[in-house]
């Protein structure tokens, strides 16, 4: 074993835990949006001094971008786990809908979605805009893929094109995050998911 890539980094090692910093940034940006969160607030929440923050992330959008990438990775991990344990395409979609109902309820719902927050200010981003667009299209493709699986395994019978179904599901997922942030995703959540699944018939 040559342990490639494990060689010691050159300068002084980082003292702060990047994962913690990004998680705090995720929470702040999710609940208030990019512009509403100041560097002061970020330094207070992360306990990382402003100089270190700028050395590590160049600027505010750089920090936002890294937080967004971590947010996406975490969510995609959750989703992969849900997809893996479901027995067919329809069950996978049902699992995703249930996940987003949960994400859009209670405290987590009020916190909000970093993707939605980012899209709200997408016009002012350079690099972060690419991340947002990329994630939207990857999510759309993933949904279309699952719909195709469901059509193949017989659990999804709609004659609609997988891309159209995926578009509608994508819209539903992010719509839940908006409505849930305002605590307006109320009522029988099982009935809500069952109803949404009708677009697969």
């Amino acid at each position: 074993m040559s342990d490639v890539g494990t060689d010691k980094p050159r300068g002084r090692p980082r003292l702060f835990d990047e994962v913690v910093v990004l998680d705090r940034a995720i929470d702040l940006f999710s609940s208030s949006g990019f512009s509403a969160v100041g560097i002061n607030e970020l330094t207070r929440a992360t306990r990382v001094k402003v100089g270190s923050l700028y050395k590590a992330y160049q600027d505010k959008e750089g920090l936002f971008s890294k937080a967004l990438e971590r947010y996406i990775a975490l969510r995609e991990g959750e989703i992969a786990a849900i997809l893996a344990q479901a027995e067919n395409g329809r069950a996978r979609i049902a699992g995703l809908l249930r996940l987003y109902v949960r994400l859009s309820s209670g405290k987590e719902g009020r916190l909000g979605c970093l993707m939605v927050a980012g899209i709200g200010e997408i016009s002012k981003f350079s690099f972060a805009g690419n991340i947002l667009h990329g994630q939207l299209s990857r999510r759309q493709m993933l949904l279309a893929d699952v719909v195709s699986q469901g059509k193949a395994d017989g659990s999804i019978t709609t004659v609609a094109e997988p891309n159209v179904v995926a578009n509608l599901l994508l819209t539903l997922l992010y719509g839940m995050r908006v409505v849930g942030k305002a605590e307006a995703l109320i009522g029988d959540t099982d009935a809500f998911v069952d109803l949404a699944l009708k677009v697969l018939d």
Copy 2:
């Protein structure tokens, strides 16, 4: 005729056109969010000096609230017209879905939805938060009402409760605004609407 309420106002008349000011504010806040728009930007766009703006609206949230109220009134007007000309409940829902597809496409889609922008920063609002919550619940009730009408006239056959259907439709409408802002509401829009209407079957 006594022309009640038409008596001349007491002091110096307003020089600026409030409708124009609010429309500019709607555009700015919709596309960037509340915190991202500065007073400077608002004075430049409206050509109203900062002092006059503050005399008229007290503070930035006051201006945002008035803009939001106008935005809601305009949209509800559009919606009322669409509902009035449709022959049954299902056609009314179809009309609303088509409206939001249009709102979520092209330049208007990129501009974004002021409701969604407001919800994104709802935690920092006092008065504006009530407007947002109120509009969400009124829209939810309107949707449930139209679904009930469709059930009564036979054009909507689902056994799901109108409230659940309304919740799903509400989620779809705002989801379209999010996805549309990122220019990701693509593909066959007629097929999209047809598919969404399946939740009424």
